[in-house]
C-alpha cells in the first residue's frame, strides 16, 4: 500500500505494531467497502410503527385494526424482496403471542376493498340504444325516450346513441320516461360555439375544455346547438366541469391525479409506476384546466388508488371499478368501453389471498417481543405495492412497537436485476433509454 510517511522510521518493536495497525486499517476499510456495496446493491427496507411515541397516520407503516383480534400492518414498496422479517413488541403483561400466525399478501389496497353486490353501470350523461328503445342515463337512472318522435323533436339522431345489450340494460335502475319535447332532461350534453355544456337543474354547466369533456364522454353524445340556445337557460360559469376522477394530468414538470375535485401531485416517478399507471395516459393540461382544482397533499406510495380507478385481473380478465371504499365489477363489453378510456391497472386476483405465513417466536430482546421471517420471493410475480401483514390472535392484546425489515438475498437473480437497474440508470443518465 502507498506509504506517505516512509521517511519516518519507528523502532523495530513499534514498526511491527505499525505493520499490524496498517493491516487492521486495511481490513476494516475492505469490510466497510463490502458493507457499503451490500447495502447499496442489495438494499433492505425498514418500516416501524411505535404506538407509544408516534401518530399512526405519520408512520411509514400503515395500521388497520380490523377487529379486536385481527390487525393488519401495511408496508409500501415498489420493490421485490427475498425475505420479510416481522417483529412485534407487546406492552407489559400481555398474552403470550408465541406460535401465533402472521400472514402476508402483496396487493393494491384499493383492489382489496370489499366487492360490492352492485355492478358498475353506465355513468350519467350516456345515451344508449337497446334494439328500438333509446335511453339517457340521468341522475344514476336510465330514462327511456317515450318514442322515436320525442327523441327527434329534441334534436337527437340514432348516431348519438351507443348500442348496448339486453343484459347491460338490466343492470340499470329505471327512471321516468322522457316525454317532454320542449325541455331537455338533466345530464343532456350540448356543444355550443366550441364549448361543451351539461344541463343540470335547469342551468347549463360548461366543461372547462374539450379534453375535460372527452375524459367523461364521447363527442357524438353532445347535441350541436347555436348561440340562441344559451338564452333559454342560465349558465353556471362559476362551476365548471373538470376532468373525470382518476384522470392523469401533466402541468409544467408535475404529474397530477384528479380525485374528487382536487388534483394530487405525484411525489416521484417511482410512485407513479408503483401504482401501475401508464405514462401514455397522461393528458397535458393548461393553466386554466389545472387552476380549476385545489391541490391536495402529494400522492405518496402509501395512498390507495382513488375512486374511478379501473383494475383488470390478469388471471380472469375481469374489470373492477373503485367507487368510494368498494369495488364494483364492470360486466358487459359496452360498459367496459366507457370506463376504459385509460389503461386499467393490472392486478392478480390471487393477490387477495394471504398465501405466505410464519409463526411468531419469542425473542430475547426486547422483552415481550416476538418475530419471524417469511420468504417473499414468490410475490415477485404478483403486481402490487402494499405488503399487508395480518396478525390473528385468540385474545386481545396491546402493541408497543412493530418492525418490518425486507431484505434481499445475495444471489445471481437479484444480482442480475441490480445490474439491469444500473444499466438502465446509466443509459438514462447519458440520454440513451428511458429515464424515470
Amino acid at each position: 500500500m502507498f506509504n506517505p510517511t516512509k521517511n519516518i522510521v519507528l523502532e523495530p518493536v513499534w514498526q511491527k505494531i505499525y505493520f499490524v495497525g496498517r493491516v487492521a486499517i486495511l481490513i476494516f476499510f475492505l469490510l466497510v467497502v463490502l458493507y457499503f456495496l451490500k447495502n447499496t446493491l442489495f438494499p433492505s427496507e425498514k418500516f416501524a410503527l411505535d404506538f407509544n411515541n408516534q401518530k399512526i397516520e405519520e408512520s411509514l407503516l400503515g395500521y388497520e385494526d380490523v377487529s379486536s383480534l385481527e390487525k393488519i400492518f401495511s408496508a409500501y414498496s415498489k420493490d421485490n424482496f427475498s425475505f420479510a422479517n416481522f417483529k412485534i413488541t407487546a406492552k407489559k403483561n400481555q398474552p403470550n403471542l408465541t406460535d401465533k400466525e402472521v400472514l402476508l399478501r402483496k396487493t393494491y389496497s384499493a383492489f382489496a376493498y370489499p366487492l360490492s353486490d352492485q355492478l358498475a353501470t353506465f355513468p350519467d350523461r350516456t345515451l344508449l340504444q337497446n334494439n328500438n328503445d333509446f335511453f339517457l342515463v340521468s341522475n344514476g337512472k336510465i330514462r327511456k325516450f317515450s318514442s322515436f318522435k320525442t327523441l327527434e323533436a329534441l334534436g337527437y339522431s340514432q348516431d348519438n346513441f351507443q348500442k348496448i345489450t339486453d343484459e347491460e340494460i338490466g343492470y340499470m335502475e329505471k327512471g321516468e320516461e322522457i316525454t317532454d319535447t320542449q325541455n331537455y332532461p338533466d345530464n343532456s350534453l350540448f356543444l355550443i360555439d366550441g364549448t361543451y355544456y351539461e344541463l343540470l337543474v335547469g342551468a347549463l354547466r360548461p366543461f372547462v375544455s374539450e379534453k375535460a369533456f372527452l375524459s367523461h364522454c364521447e363527442k357524438n353524445q353532445a347535441l350541436v346547438k347555436d348561440d340562441d340556445f344559451l338564452k333559454k337557460y342560465s349558465i353556471n360559469q362559476d362551476n365548471l366541469i373538470g376532468f373525470a376522477n382518476g384522470t392523469l394530468l401533466s402541468f409544467d414538470i408535475g404529474v397530477f391525479l384528479v380525485e374528487e375535485g382536487k388534483v394530487v401531485p405525484f411525489n416521484n416517478p417511482e410512485t407513479f409506476l408503483a401504482l401501475g399507471y401508464n405514462w401514455d395516459d397522461i393528458i397535458s393540461a393548461n393553466e386554466e384546466e389545472i387552476g380549476l382544482y385545489q391541490r391536495d397533499k402529494v400522492f405518496s406510495i402509501s395512498r390507495p388508488h382513488p375512486s374511478g380507478t379501473v383494475f383488470q385481473d390478469q388471471d380472469s380478465g375481469k374489470y373492477y371499478l373503485i367507487s368510494g371504499k368498494d369495488k364494483k365489477e364492470i360486466r358487459g363489453e359496452n360498459i367496459q368501453r366507457i370506463y376504459l378510456k385509460r389503461k386499467p391497472v393490472l392486478v392478480n386476483e390471487k393477490s387477495l389471498s394471504f398465501d405466505i405465513s410464519c409463526k411468531l417466536e419469542k425473542k430475547l430482546w426486547p422483552f415481550n417481543s416476538y418475530g419471524c421471517q417469511m420468504p417473499t420471493a414468490t410475490l415477485e410475480k404478483i403486481t402490487g405495492k402494499d405488503y399487508q401483514f395480518k396478525l390473528n390472535s385468540n385474545s386481545t392484546f396491546e402493541i408497543s412497537q412493530v418492525n418490518i425489515i425486507f431484505s434481499r438475498e445475495i444471489n445471481w437473480l437479484n444480482m442480475r436485476d441490480i445490474f439491469s437497474d444500473i444499466k438502465q440508470r446509466l443509459l438514462g443518465s447519458y440520454g440513451y433509454g428511458e429515464t424515470l
Binding site: 502507498f2 506509504n3 506517505p4 513499534w14 495497525g21 486499517i25 447499496t40 444500473i422 443518465s429
Partner: protein
C-alpha cells in the same frame, strides 16, 4: 521517566503514521464514491452523507496536524511532499477532467461553449499570474 517519554514519542509517531494511512484510504474512498455518484447520480449517496465524509476528513487532517506539530515532523514531510506534488497533480487533473467532462453531459451546446470559453479565460489568467510571480 526518559523511557516513558520515549515510548510516548514512538506512540505519537505511530498514530501520526497510521492517521496518514487512514487519510489515504479516506480520500481514495471519497474519490471513488464521488466518481461513482457522478456517473450514476442518486444511487450511492443514499447510504452515505457527504457532510459526514467531509467532517471526517477535517477531523483526520486536524489530528495529523496536531500530532505532526507535537513531534515536529511537519516541516520534513512538506519537503518530501513538494517533490511528489507534480505526480499528484497529474493524477488530480485526470480525475477532475473526467468528472468535469462527465458533468457536461446534460448541458446544451451553447452553455457548454460558454463554460469552455470562461474556463479557458480563467486558466489563462491563472497561468499569467503564476508565471509573473515565478519571475
Amino acid at each position: 521517566m526518559a523511557m516513558e517519554k520515549h515510548s510516548k514519542q514512538q506512540l505519537e509517531l505511530l498514530v501520526y503514521k497510521l492517521l496518514h494511512d487512514v487519510l489515504f484510504l479516506w480520500l481514495f474512498g471519497t474519490v471513488c464514491l464521488l466518481t461513482a455518484q457522478n456517473i450514476l447520480p442518486n444511487y450511492f449517496f443514499s447510504e452515505f452523507s457527504l457532510a459526514k465524509i467531509i467532517f471526517g476528513l477535517f477531523a483526520i487532517l486536524f489530528l495529523i496536524g496536531f500530532f505532526g506539530k507535537r513531534q515536529d515532523v511537519s516541516s520534513e514531510e512538506n519537503k518530501e511532499k513538494t517533490k511528489k506534488l507534480s505526480e499528484t497533480l497529474v493524477f488530480l487533473i485526470i480525475i477532475s477532467s473526467a468528472l468535469i467532462i462527465n458533468s457536461f453531459r446534460t448541458l446544451e451546446i451553447f452553455p457548454l461553449i460558454a463554460s469552455c470559453v470562461f474556463a479557458l479565460f480563467i486558466f489563462f489568467a491563472f497561468f499569467q499570474i503564476t508565471s509573473k510571480s515565478q519571475k
